[in-house]
């Protein structure tokens, strides 16, 4: 049974995700949790460029993302259930586009959108089957949906996975 405490008496467990960098306070923005809560992605400044930072929770151990290092600035990261997929808006030349890193294979799926649409923000469905992107059409923000099922294997909660599991082989 769910008990709702009264207003102002919250005793929810809470903690800071920790400092974003060494030496002095620095910004950490755009958080995204994997469905199972084991990974946290956020955006920090690295060498003056917005860079996605992927960390195990609760240890805070950083997981390197060498595949994404050429495509800063990064923004709007999103993680699938077990963190197999990391979707993020990257910059390539003068264009912003969505990419999905498959951490099980190391492959980066670039997702150019029809009509050369520029992506502002994105959300990846936890199972990896759909992508929602915020784009600008005639100056108006608009959310559009895309089917990723032909591109990505599903990343399902552990209880729904038989055999080796979609989250297997992750660093």
């Amino acid at each position: 049974m769910l008990v709702l405490p009264g207003c102002g008496s919250w005793s929810w467990g809470r903690r800071s995700a920790g400092p974003a960098g060494l030496g002095g306070p620095s910004n950490r923005e755009d958080p995204a949790l994997s469905g199972n809560g084991r990974l946290l992605a956020s955006v920090v400044e690295r060498g003056g460029r917005s860079t996605v930072l992927l960390q195990e929770q609760p240890s805070g151990r950083e997981l390197p993302l060498p595949q994404l290092m050429r495509f800063q600035p990064h923004r709007s990261p999103a993680l699938s259930w077990n963190g197999r997929y990391l979707a993020v808006v990257v910059q390539q030349g003068s264009r912003h586009l969505a990419v999905v890193l498959d951490r099980a294979t190391g492959r980066v799926h670039r997702l150019p959108l029809p009509g050369d649409l520029e992506v502002e923000r994105l959300s990846l469905a936890p199972d990896g089957r759909r992508l929602a992107v915020e784009v600008l059409r005639q100056g108006q923000a608009r959310v559009e949906l895309f089917d990723l099922a032909p591109l990505l294997e599903p990343d399902l909660p552990a209880t729904a996975v038989s055999g080796g599991g979609a989250g297997g082989g992750l660093r």
Binding site: D30, S42, P150
Partner: protein
């Protein structure tokens, strides 16, 4: 021997060659996009399970909209939206039961957790005090990651949801 099949093959393969490093294009979900168009402008998407939460509206008046992607229609959110509130960020869990919303109301920015089945809205205080902006609700609904401004620095708080 006819060259036509070879030519046809080359033409058919051209997009593949040009897009070789890009891989297949994502497929637009047109029917759902048309549903979203009916909302007007929409931004700040959050996907989980069969649910898509967005902030959308017309004429500058925006509210949180939760779309059931299987039935392709928005569902009611009684007690969540109010005309004097401007939502900034929204998250939804995979069951569509919990929504986390950052909104501006009466000059303040607040984080609230909404339970759809109960139609209950609960404020979530920032401790230490800070101004929340973007949020991510874990797909299982058990934890929130919140971007919080404190003393001019953006930080990330992790809050367990009871």
């Amino acid at each position: 021997m006819s060259r036509a099949p070879i030519l046809a093959g080359l033409i058919a393969g051209l997009p593949l060659l040009l897009g070789g490093c890009l891989g297949p294009m994502p497929v637009p979900l047109g029917a759902l996009d048309r549903r979203l168009e009916a909302i007007g402008s929409s931004h700040a998407p959050a996907l989980a399970g069969r649910w898509l939460a967005v902030i959308g509206g017309r004429g500058g008046r925006e509210q949180v909209v939760l779309v059931d992607l299987e039935r392709q229609m928005p569902v009611p959110l009684p007690g969540l939206n109010r005309p004097d509130a401007q939502p900034l960020s929204v998250g939804v869990d995979a069951s569509g039961e919990r929504l986390a919303v950052v909104r501006q109301l009466e000059g303040r920015t607040e984080l609230v957790l909404y339970r759809r089945g109960l139609m209950a809205l609960e404020p979530v205080a920032m401790e230490p005090a800070g101004v929340p902006r973007r949020i991510s609700l874990r797909a299982d609904g058990r934890e929130l990651a919140v971007e919080v401004s404190r003393g001019g620095v953006w930080q990330v708080d992790l809050i367990e949801v009871p």
